[in-house]
């Protein structure tokens, strides 16, 4: 079934590439060392800044898309109803999958994401991404950080901590996201779907 329209696929690929650049350059800056340079510091700073700004505009695409196209409904949930379903999906990943059980929430046209996937995407798109953008812009224009002291440290240092913690969780998300895409059968079908838009039913 055709699930992923072209604009989502382009958005997703740009997202993936920018995420990779941002993670590599971010780590390179965070762990910069004169004796062991992964990427030259000034190059890492410029690439990180440019990629971050591009990601910000790319983020605008999914926000506008979710507001004005039917895609938005995949990012809404009713907590009371979903709570138990998340537990079921978690149980499947940690237990049922090894017992040969079928996935409890197979992909349909009305249910593109399983409940655990949905709550994770909502957290990523509506919590961590805004956090990393706000702090990222603030670090790009540090003179605009109006809180000079917070929790016994400087406003800019605190902003940086929020930025790198958000970055860490987003990186972790990316790793787990890629791994979980290897689960559906046949192998590689998820990756293929992100290029073609066609979701292949599990065997």
């Amino acid at each position: 079934m055709y699930l992923y329209p072209i604009w989502i696929r382009i958005w997703h690929i740009i997202n993936a590439l920018l995420f990779l650049i941002l993670i590599i350059t971010g780590l390179s800056m965070q762990y910069s060392n004169p004796d062991f340079t992964i990427i030259r510091f000034d190059v890492a700073v410029s690439s990180h800044n440019i990629s971050g700004i591009l990601l910000f505009f790319n983020y605008g695409i999914i926000i506008i898309g979710n507001l004005f196209t039917p895609n938005g409904k995949f990012y809404r949930l009713k907590w009371k109803k979903t709570k138990g379903q998340i537990a079921d999906q978690f149980r499947y990943y940690t237990y049922g999958i090894f017992k040969g059980e079928k996935t409890p929430f197979p992909v349909t046209e009305k249910r593109k994401f399983n409940p655990l996937q949905k709550i994770t995407y909502i957290m990523v798109i509506y919590l961590f991404m805004p956090l990393i953008f706000i702090t990222g812009w603030a670090l790009l224009f540090p003179e605009l950080i109006f809180i000079k002291r917070i929790f016994g440290t400087s406003g800019i240092h605190f902003t940086d901590l929020v930025h790198i913690i958000s970055g860490f969780f987003l990186s972790l998300f990316m790793v787990i996201h890629i791994y979980l895409c290897t689960i559906p059968k046949p192998p590689g079908s998820s990756f293929k779907a992100m290029l073609t838009g066609w979701h292949q039913h599990e065997e």
Partner: protein, 312 residues
């Protein structure tokens, strides 16, 4: 006789002290500052036999508040200047007398041994200031003895100390008149010359010029060997790394023993500043490694169990 009279008259214009201070019983520094802290002075013009009021030469006006907060505030003016200045009108030739240098008082004295004045002088003599201008460049060009405060040691507010220090450099390097006293080269624009620095304002307000323009000396609180411009630090990672040179210079006083141990980790050291790549929180580092390690381990175990299931 007439020549002497004219000379005396000119001197009285250059170094006027009205008689009133003697009458009020002021002595020492206060007597000098009675005139030298004001914008104008009055004197008796022997030609017209009238009392005249004129503007003081701005270079001879002192800021009494800055003097009071300076390290030499207990001194009398004549401790360094010629005692002949106590006579008014001042003799104009006094201006030509050499003034005591810092080492005249501070050199070879055990009281000041901990400040390493001799070593500072030795460093200074290697610096581009000395090699390019020789004896014309003395301590006073940067350190005004009237107002000098040991900010690197005493200031509790880092940005205050940084601004104080950078203003020393900028007093010449952004003032073509003062710069022209020592160099024939035209004055360059500091901002243009440092255009390569991202977030220029953040750099200028959070680090001192000497961080990049001196060679760090571990035995001196403040390095005095100002390097030629081609030898200045230009590699970002010199500062932007856990082993940042800022720990040996700017933050030296606050973080003497923590350099290699925790880097810029401890917020108590650096709670005012932030340096990308240097502000690493060791606890967050460990926590992030543990979480990431667990995730990778989880993925490996999950994959292995899936493979086992497939074989069954």
């Amino acid at each position: 006789m007439l020549k002497k009279f004219i000379l005396l008259f000119i001197c009285s214009l250059a170094f006027p002290i009205p008689g009133t201070s003697q009458e009020t019983g002021e002595s020492g520094k206060e007597k000098c500052l009675a005139c030298h802290s004001k914008q104008d002075y009055t004197f008796n013009n022997p030609y017209t036999s009238q009392t005249e009021k004129r503007l003081m030469n701005p270079y001879y006006i002192l800021d009494t508040a800055s003097i009071s907060s300076g390290v030499h505030h207990k001194f009398n003016c004549t401790d360094c200047h010629s005692p002949d200045y106590e006579t008014w009108p001042h003799n104009g030739e006094l201006k030509l007398e050499p003034i005591n240098t810092c080492l005249d008082c501070h050199g070879g004295d055990d009281t000041y041994a901990k400040y390493h004045f001799e070593e500072v002088d030795a460093e200074f003599q290697q610096s581009v200031h000395f090699t390019a201008t020789g004896e014309h460049f003395g301590c006073y060009k940067c350190h005004n003895p009237h107002y000098y405060r040991p900010m690197a040691r005493d200031s509790k507010v880092m940005t205050e100390s940084i601004s104080y220090d950078n203003n020393m450099c900028l007093s010449c390097h952004s003032n073509k008149d003062r710069f022209g006293l020592l160099s024939e080269k035209g004055l360059f624009d500091v901002m243009d010359r440092h255009e390569f620095l991202p977030n220029q304002t953040a750099h200028f307000t959070n680090v001192r010029c000497i961080e990049c323009h001196t060679k760090v000396n571990d035995s001196l609180m403040v390095a005095h060997n100002i390097l030629p411009k081609d030898k200045a630090v230009k590699l970002c990672v010199e500062c932007h790394s856990s082993n940042s040179i800022l720990m040996a210079s700017l933050y030296r006083h606050q973080a003497k023993e923590r350099r290699n141990e925790l880097g810029f980790v401890n917020a108590s050291i650096l709670n005012e500043s932030y340096v990308i790549g240097a502000n690493r929180n060791i606890f967050l580092n460990i926590l992030s490694l543990v979480i990431f390690g667990m995730a990778i381990m989880g993925i490996i175990i999950h994959t292995a169990l899936r493979k086992v299931k497939q074989k069954k």
